[in-house]
């Protein structure tokens, strides 16, 4: 059974087509790297996978079930996923309340929450930061808190929208290590949008190339970079693409 299966999907913004996918399958437990130029539909795809937006046409199957219009069902599915955005948008409160947010809205309270938050902060190498105000954190720290905020939920799917785009090498390393750890330990399915091809090479089991609102190519990462089938993919990888 696929984690996600998408058929004949189309998404428009103000009458303009921003994403068109004939068929896409994402397997459970894999890390997918999505690369491609800006404006190619990468973020839109993540928002559709996170069920934050609805397609204008087509079907999304999540763990074998058709995702419907019904908000209750969408919420239940959404609560098994989490997303890290390019900008770490933290709530203007303490680090603790940020990390505990998702647990709180799921009705979890008390000592168990405290423990989970401490563990998550530990994993992102920010132990003891609970009482710090989010606005006092550096960019790298904030993004690590944003990651802890999703990890604490133990999602089955983690969607990452260029989470390291504005981070220094140290913080990028921490995030990458964690993502790999989460995938190996918990079998979390990851979809990672990145501008950094080396990052996709390092982390992804499979890589997809999204160009002009379509998936041009999807292959096992090694094969993708060594012998791409599509000339557009080849040009992009070699940095020769003009867009």
């Amino acid at each position: 059974m696929w984690m996600y299966e998408i058929n004949d999907l189309q998404k428009n913004y103000q009458g303009k087509k921003v994403l068109e996918i004939e068929n896409l399958q994402l397997a459970k437990g894999k890390i997918y790297g999505i690369i491609g130029p800006s404006g190619g539909g990468k973020s839109t795809l993540l928002r559709l996978l996170n069920l934050l937006e609805k397609p204008d046409q087509g079907e999304i199957y999540y763990q074998g079930n058709l995702v419907e219009e019904d908000e209750k069902q969408r919420l239940a599915y959404r609560r098994t996923m989490a997303m890290v955005f390019q900008q770490s948008v933290l709530f203007n409160t303490t680090v603790y309340k940020n990390v505990a947010y998702g647990l709180g809205i799921r009705g979890q309270r008390g000592e168990a929450v405290k423990k989970k938050v401490a563990q998550a902060l530990d994993l992102v190498e920010m132990e003891g930061y609970e009482k710090r105000q989010a606005i006092t954190l550096s960019g790298g720290e904030a993004q690590r808190v944003a990651l802890a905020r999703t990890m604490v939920l133990e999602p089955e799917v983690l969607l990452l929208d260029e989470p390291t785009a504005s981070l220094d090498p140290y913080n990028t390393g921490v995030v990458e290590k964690l993502v790999r750890h989460l995938n190996e330990e918990k079998g979390t399915t990851m979809v990672w949008v990145t501008h950094n091809m080396f990052q996709a090479k390092r982390l992804a089991h499979e890589t997809l190339f999204l160009y002009e609102n379509r998936i041009v190519e999807q292959k096992a990462t090694e094969e993708f970079f060594q012998s791409p089938s599509d000339p557009k993919t080849q040009a992009f990888i070699e940095g020769k693409m003009i867009y």
Binding site: R78, F91, R106
Partner: protein, 231 residues
């Protein structure tokens, strides 16, 4: 200048003397304006949040109406409430005219658009990603809306404080629907107006100073509460 100094001294004496009538006036002011602000907040904050977080046909018109009502003169509200509550009015049977309840009604009408308008302004300053992030973390639409309101808590608190300031300081509406009846509907502003008309400037000034002091203390404590709740 002399009046000011005498006023200051008298204010101090009034507070210390525990004069029953003065305290009654202060308490009624707080009760009427406090209740009105509470009711206005219960209506104005959800209204402001709804208008801020949703897009629908006719929204601009409603925003314009709220903006207009934010500056509505208290006497006009007083007049309308008076007409509704007077014995020949549609709500005359309730016999509310010249009671503190009538004053609460008038001030609630005065303050609700102010709180709603300022809530809209506060929410428009919140990072638009906040709602999306909350939703992606599993919030339902209510929880996401609450996350946005919480981000704007300082602005929303400022809306409540402004509403209270406006309510406790207005005289036109309460004098029309309350009637400034001694021992029953006399509040600080109507007492100040009366004392000034009677030439008792120092007493009027004393009451004015107490009014300012009270507003200051309430602002201070609300600000403190917001700060603590946010942490």
């Amino acid at each position: 200048m002399q009046d000011m100094l005498v006023g200051l001294r008298e204010a101090w004496q009034l507070l210390l003397s525990l004069d029953e009538e003065t305290y009654q006036i202060i308490l009624l002011s707080l009760r009427v304006s406090g209740t009105a602000v509470l009711l206005a907040a219960l209506m104005g904050i959800p209204l402001g949040a709804f208008l801020s977080l949703n897009n629908f046909w006719g929204k601009k018109l409603i925003l314009n109406i709220i903006n207009t009502f934010m500056g509505l003169p208290p006497v006009v509200i007083g007049l309308v409430v008076y007409l509704f509550l007077s014995s020949s009015g549609p709500l005359g049977e309730l016999e509310l005219l010249f009671t503190p309840e009538a004053m609460i009604v008038a001030q609630t009408i005065l303050v609700t658009p102010i709180i709603a308008g300022l809530t809209i302004a506060a929410l428009s300053g919140v990072n638009p990603m906040i709602g999306l992030v909350a939703t992606s973390l599993g919030a339902n639409s209510w929880q996401a809306a609450w996350a946005i309101i919480k981000e704007a808590r300082y602005g929303v608190m400022a809306a409540i404080v402004s509403g209270f300031g406006r309510a406790v300081a207005e005289v036109g509406a309460v004098i029309m629907v309350g009637g400034d009846i001694q021992g029953s509907t006399r509040v600080m502003t109507t007492a100040i107006a009366l004392q000034t008309r009677m030439g008792n400037f120092s007493t009027a000034l004393a009451l004015g100073l107490i009014l300012v002091l009270l507003s200051f203390l309430i602002n201070l404590s609300l600000g403190y509460l917001t700060e603590r709740r946010g942490r």
